[in-house]
Symmetry: C2
Subunit: 129 residues, 2 copies
Amino acid sequence: MEIAYAKAGGLVPAIVQDDRTGEVLMLGFMNEQALAETRRTQEVVFFSRSRNRLWKKGESSGHVLKIRDLRVDCDADALLVRVEPVGPGVCHEGYRSCFFRRIDEDGQAEVVEQRTFEPEQVYGPEKKG
Amino acid sequence: MEIAYAKAGGLVPAIVQDDRTGEVLMLGFMNEQALAETRRTQEVVFFSRSRNRLWKKGESSGHVLKIRDLRVDCDADALLVRVEPVGPGVCHEGYRSCFFRRIDEDGQAEVVEQRTFEPEQVYGPEKKG
């Protein structure tokens, strides 16, 4: 099938959802090569906009995301990846999900989840992965 | 708080998730004004890239999305909106979720959900909303 990569400069957003709990864990972007690698390895590979290269989730932390289901939306310009996450969390700040902050009524971001791991022990001087 | 709109040309992806079931319903984009309108009205307002204007979800179908929780990710460049959806589905093709197709092993898109409404009866000659 054709994915509408061109619509957003070659990248489509890919939502990562825990297949067991339904929790939305993070959002990344994939280009054609990242999706091909994701499908080939059955583990999530993004295209990192900041590093401008393919980025296998878990490449430094070991917290890989095993594919359980792969969906595409009606316009073929967004992906939903249901995964089995390996490890205590996907977020480089030490949380299970990157969406650990609520925007409250005053527009302030408030942390509403508990840390599940110490990022320094997992990433060392690196920030992500 | 500051949302990183600049990172992707003024728009951030906003994941819409059913607050009750956990099902991911769709992905849209918001600019600063769309997020402000979403917060003010407590119903989802996107910025439509194809129409180049604010787009209140449900403006033609009546299938509005009532805000139940609003989250921002670690990098402040993606939103997660948990909603109570009004009506039988959010997808203009007649499904509860826009992610009604699986990408199978051969890379083909396969419909794996049941239609929940007849789009022609809801949208008439219009295609979305």
